[in-house]
Amino acid sequence: MSMNVQLEVYEGPLDLLLHLIKKNEVTITDIPIALITEQYLETLEAMQSLNLDMAGEYIVMASTLIHIKSRLLLPLEEGDEEEEEGTDPRDELVRRLLEYQRYKDASEDLAKREILNRDVFVRASEAVQEVKSKEFAPVSLFDLITALRRVLEKLPEETVHTVVLENFSVRGKMTMILEVLNRSASVSFESLFETAASRMEVVVTLLAVLELMKIRAAIVKQEERLGPIMIEGVGSLGEVKDRLNQEGNEEVEGHGS
């Protein structure tokens, strides 16, 4: 565990190299490539053995180091493509290391400045506002689940809807209304819809009422303008049911589908 943390302090291959150079107290312009490469690879191995997710950049640097090392081992042949005098294969790496160190130094200078909301503060506002937009209260997994449940609760229950739809046929409703009318001489139009759970059921109920009127099994009355609409049964239940079976069969089927 502690090893894991230890390796995280390197900000990348250049940082690791600088660390090795400093640790070995060697001159940056005259890096003992063999030694540094060896230690670099050992560190990489350590990182791998810890199953750290190693950035590809570390591997690229390893190959660069090995490449430099091999070039240093090879005797310079005449007419080598490296025409320039005194070209050291390490030069490019040294330049990169120095450049990186330069900005590391600069970042440390920046860190020493009087930093807003660390060293110096201003009246309320800006800083707080900025934080306000970023600093949300932490959300736990359970909060998320609760939120999801609320969303699900609000969802119209589409599937249930469809099942209900199949339960209502105009015919079924007609029979139901007839039974209601059999029990009480008249009912209000609205009361027929009280149990309706969906728009579809309302429509089916209305169609049933219209069918009943059509086959003269029920009549619709209103005692005064804008008053309650009342529905009354006509004739006995058995009689109407017979009529329903005989006469209205086809028509009802037609409307109900």
Partner: protein, 211 residues
Amino acid sequence: MDRDQLRSIVESLLFLSEASLSLDRLSSLIGGVENGEIKLVLEELQSEYESKRRGFRLVVVAGDYQLRTPTENSEWVKNLFRGKATRMSRATLETLAIIAYKQPMTRGEIEQIRGVNVDGIVSTLFERQLVSIVGRKDIPGKPFLYGTTREFLELFNLKDLTELPTLKEMDEITLPEVPEQNILPIEDDDDQAKSDNDSTETDDHSEKTEG
């Protein structure tokens, strides 16, 4: 309006304002007073706060005037501060320094210097409004060019970019003699303690690999 009254008014405005105030803004708020006169009382206030070690200092950030508490009071002031204290990792600071000195530059150019991918860090800096997209580089792919913002100047107490500490020349760069402490420059106390531990462990481990 005499000088004392003007100074008093300017002080009131600075005290009340949540944002920093430019000289022009102060001038339009006061009205009928030369900018030069306002600048004069601003300087008087500046030196007064400084010399009397007052509880706030008048600083120029991003070209505007603002009252800020002095660093030596931070220990006490931060307890009152309701926001989140500024914290930055070393990687963030390094990336920010590179952009600040070499702007405008692309992500690719930043990566060349740091030797690692900086996508995440640049996005964070962008979200914190410390850098912004200032254009596109005229090379294949037309990558975005990043530069620092006014918020960057405000964060680091800078008048403008020229106030950045001078970058060392390449031949001036020396590596610190002692193995680096790996101190995360801007961290609160807890993290500081943690990073100290880290560096100790680094050294331990390095010795092992050596042997």
